[in-house]
Symmetry: C2
Subunit: 313 residues, 2 copies
Amino acid sequence: MRAVTIEDGRLVLAERPDPEPGRGELLVRVAAAGLNGADLHQLRGGYPAPPGSPADIPGLELAGEVAATGPGVDRFRPGDRVMAVVGGGGQAELAVVHERTAIPVPDGLGWPEAGGFPEAVTTAHDALFTQCGLGLGDRLLVHGAAGGVGTAAVQLGSAAGARVVASVRNRDHHRAVADLGADVVAEPARAFEEGPFDVILELVGAPNFPANLDALATGGRLMVIGVGAGATVELDLRTLMTRRSRVLASNLRSRPLEQKADAARRVEHQALPLLAAGRLRVPVAATFPLADAQEAYDRFVAGGKLGKLVLVT
Amino acid sequence: MRAVTIEDGRLVLAERPDPEPGRGELLVRVAAAGLNGADLHQLRGGYPAPPGSPADIPGLELAGEVAATGPGVDRFRPGDRVMAVVGGGGQAELAVVHERTAIPVPDGLGWPEAGGFPEAVTTAHDALFTQCGLGLGDRLLVHGAAGGVGTAAVQLGSAAGARVVASVRNRDHHRAVADLGADVVAEPARAFEEGPFDVILELVGAPNFPANLDALATGGRLMVIGVGAGATVELDLRTLMTRRSRVLASNLRSRPLEQKADAARRVEHQALPLLAAGRLRVPVAATFPLADAQEAYDRFVAGGKLGKLVLVT
């Protein structure tokens, strides 16, 4: 198979042996695979792939048809359309996925949208609901709301009955993010004026941290998922005590199989029906063929996009 | 009544009008009232009493006999022995307590122990179980384990089946803290070597923070309750993300009635049976008459004690 591979910090298309599905695993003929911040972090040498994942093929999410199944598979059969979060190796023509982490792709959903769904939506869902317990009436602030995880978080928060304030630096995307269900879309400094917030989802990093702490409601949760703009902050523990608030941080990639499978079941239960009904969309900013992976990553670094960048085969 | 009052940053005994119990409230003839870090913080001008509590009478916990009841009281009657967390005003001959926040004092428990129980045990219980979900098999590190909240946390953690590492600077108290059920008692630097920990209870403050972060297990919770030794820390969000861990902080005093009542019910359910059975003790370092409150606070500032300092009437 052909795969995007990391060579001296650059991405090139290379020929690799076809992977083989083991017990409980699917061999997927990848149709689309989204880009994520973690891919970039890995490309720069700071985030090696977890054990069991290809060390030099990036890609944390993919969608495609099941090409073959290993022993003991009972959820899917060859020809089924699936999508999944993987520890790495998604940006290739073939990839192996454990069937417990795979999610069926709804009829009618295009491959680029499916390829950009798993990591973005699972990350947003896990952060908002599993980690922070977001619910009806909560006040949610999403920083970096025009990105892949951000657009998912705005839609999921809105669908769950939260009041959603979306912080988006690029004013060109304000209208589009409002159309996803945000009650208010504003530049960061203006977004804070809408506080206090029960949940703040931080997808940008350190620069917002002091204002985030000040904007937390009593009992509020500050959830850190992205630190592309910086990771070291000063924290006033007394403010945190007075507000009885929390700073949480997480990532999907390093989790063990059972946690990834559990997250996939929750997404199937709560987000997949919204996707199938058209109430949850995956905005795709652009698609690139596998051979143009470097160009796609350069576009990712440039920032300012709306939604996902997706490689297609 | 006579009450400990704050005058120009010093504590003096003064005559004050007797408080009157309102609907659902008990008038308690205080027998004993423990000292807490928050009293000291208030004395220094940094932590004003919450609305509805006496502004200049310290005291966050008390024990005594019910002297009279307001309308609608149905849990207690005059003569009953009760103890409670209050927003302030505990260090006086009389205090008003809502009956939903009061806890019965087990037969045979002395007044000093009862007066030092509510804040210490409720704080430790709320932090370990309600906030951090501590349970069987968890690895717990308690910093400041020889203090009031610390000795409670060691015993509650041990009773719940956690492995308890107690960090105690004063070596004179190591044996006594081990006798409370700690699996390991050590000075802070040595205690960290016992990590990683699922839960760390920080009762001291900033100095331990960097090592605390490093000592958290995957999914670990760092709970900050005391910041007497400093409140400003540097936080590496990427470390927090990699560990999928959390920094929590809380306090009891500023909570609304329903939350204090809920915390009291949980303590009644889980900690009171241990107290009644002698499996949970309240080490009392020293008692002082109300008139010697300033001396008691000076002793509190000096540190290095084992357990509670309690004022008695």
